[in-house]
Subunit: 308 residues, 2 copies
């Protein structure tokens, strides 16, 4: 069983969708990644920071999911990172209403000693220098490093971003970000340019339109499961990343063929995440439910055609 | 070998894309559908109308592709339907610059006698009354009737559209049109409502985001092949429909399982169509090229996951 280090936010979210509205609930990239990865029973540690206002219940919940929380620093006198957003009617776009960095502003991640030899490192969306500092703390080269990022860092920390991108094996970004990162509209051409920046594997997330995995001239596509209703898209991308890295940490096989399965697991778990507000659905997820949905993914995509 | 009747426009198109500009070239739904269906060597007839200005060369080309043109009426004193459009930089949206209906304004389709017993009828996008008049001419109930339509007819011929939709087995429309037709954002819910209008099968085309096939509670998804460059999207939807119906006419098997393959063939042929202006690419398409691209589709979508 592989070890997985997850660095990212552990946060409060307040969410408005056409279906309803929440007060401050549990959110954050590391939270969603950790919950998804926990499905695979891997030995995962979350590296993050919260304030004294962060409920012990939330930490206990993560611990109960077998996520090591010794790397989540608690700044007693500080407040937890808070994000608030409102989704538009199509659920594909949103407005950020509030971003309070709070303790995240001075986040200095510390990887617990017994995870500095982890096999897989998942760098959630954070300042590229923070992501790099996690890699600096690893005592041996991880088998796989996966990085998530966003347009914000392209706008205001380009050089730092390029430096950390060089050091990772897989990058996960959305289609618009891939276009911004490369100046290319075609995702095929964009992926090739991103390969040249360092990552051997490029995952381009297209939300409700699925995800593409590129490796050299190979490409694999996983659709999003067509759902009757998307209730709250918050955390879907991080859940995808958690499913992806959790599966790879569990199997220890980073071949392209196995990475396809990791993409399918990521998409499968993300399809649950969006069914309820925040982490609600991910906290209560049975193996049967996941296996049943994997079967739906097979039916959705697999065909038997005879080539002549 | 099944017989296929195709009704639709045979037209002149003038196209502007970021890559270039054409004078009046061969276009039209029945043209693209026919060229795609001709790949399968089916016994297909195009039913359409053109003016005296329509070049004999174009008619000869269609004949040489084994498309029966006895149902293409030539109105000597009239002019051929002309459409001109300009694509935006993202190639996903376009402006119509010119629409001259010409002979199409009085189009009264006549299905050739020896095709009135066809197995498959493909109703290209036209006024719903014109589509219905083709069905009225069939001397026996076709094995499969497929209808394409667009938002324009929802706006200005709703009742006629509902009447013809009731009579078809498969409808192919794009995502926005499915939403307009049903007032539902979720494509899963939209497909269910369209089932209730009549069609047992619903194909929702999402352009570069692929296509969904719905039948009762079953759903199948085919991505668009990720391409380095989309040169001209004109005719891609009709080419998809031609591949879909051509394959079904050839195999004579209208089970859901076989319809999946028809969707894959449709997507495969459409991926060629967009590589050149107009019908250029579809006129020169070898079996080897198609089989190679089908293999790419398999690699793009097929995975081996063990369920526990």
């Amino acid at each position: 069983m592989g070890k997985l280090v997850i660095v990212g936010t552990v946060a409060f979210d307040a969410i408005e969708t056409p279906f309803g509205k929440t007060d401050k609930i549990l959110g954050g990239a590391a939270t969603f990644i950790g919950l998804a990865a926990s499905y695979f029973g891997v030995d995962a540690a979350a590296v993050s920071v919260v304030g004294g206002d962060f409920p012990q219940d939330y930490l206990d919940m993560l611990s109960n999911k077998n996520i090591d929380i010794s790397g989540i620093e608690i700044v007693k006198e500080g407040k937890t990172f808070f994000w608030s957003g409102r989704y538009h009617n199509d659920m594909n776009s949103r407005d950020t209403l509030v971003t309070e960095l709070n303790t995240l502003a001075d986040f200095n991640p510390k990887v617990p000693k017994n995870y500095q030899d982890a096999d897989v490192v998942m760098l959630g969306n954070l300042h590229p220098l923070v992501q790099a500092s996690v890699l600096d703390q690893m005592t041996q080269k991880p088998k796989l490093v996966v990085l998530d990022t966003m347009n914000f860092w392209m706008d205001c920390a380009w050089d730092d971003l390029m430096n950390v991108i060089k050091r990772v094996d897989v990058i996960t970004i959305n289609d618009e970000e891939a276009r911004q990162l490369t100046g290319e509209y075609s995702l095929v051409v964009a992926a090739r340019k991103i390969h040249d920046m360092g990552p051997k594997y490029v995952v381009i997330k297209k939300g409700e339109h699925g995800a593409l995995l590129f490796h050299k001239d190979d490409v694999f596509f996983a659709p999003a499961l067509p759902l009757e209703e998307v209730f709250d898209p918050t955390g879907a991308g991080d859940t995808f990343a958690g499913g992806f890295t959790g599966y790879l940490a569990k199997t220890g096989d980073i071949s392209f063929e196995n990475m396809k399965n990791a993409v399918i697991y990521g998409s499968t778990l993300a399809s649950f995440c969006v069914e309820k507000f925040g982490t609600e659905r991910m906290q209560k997820l049975s193996n049967d439910e996941v296996q049943k949905r994997l079967m739906q993914f097979k039916e959705l995509t697999q065909f038997e055609i005879e080539l002549s």
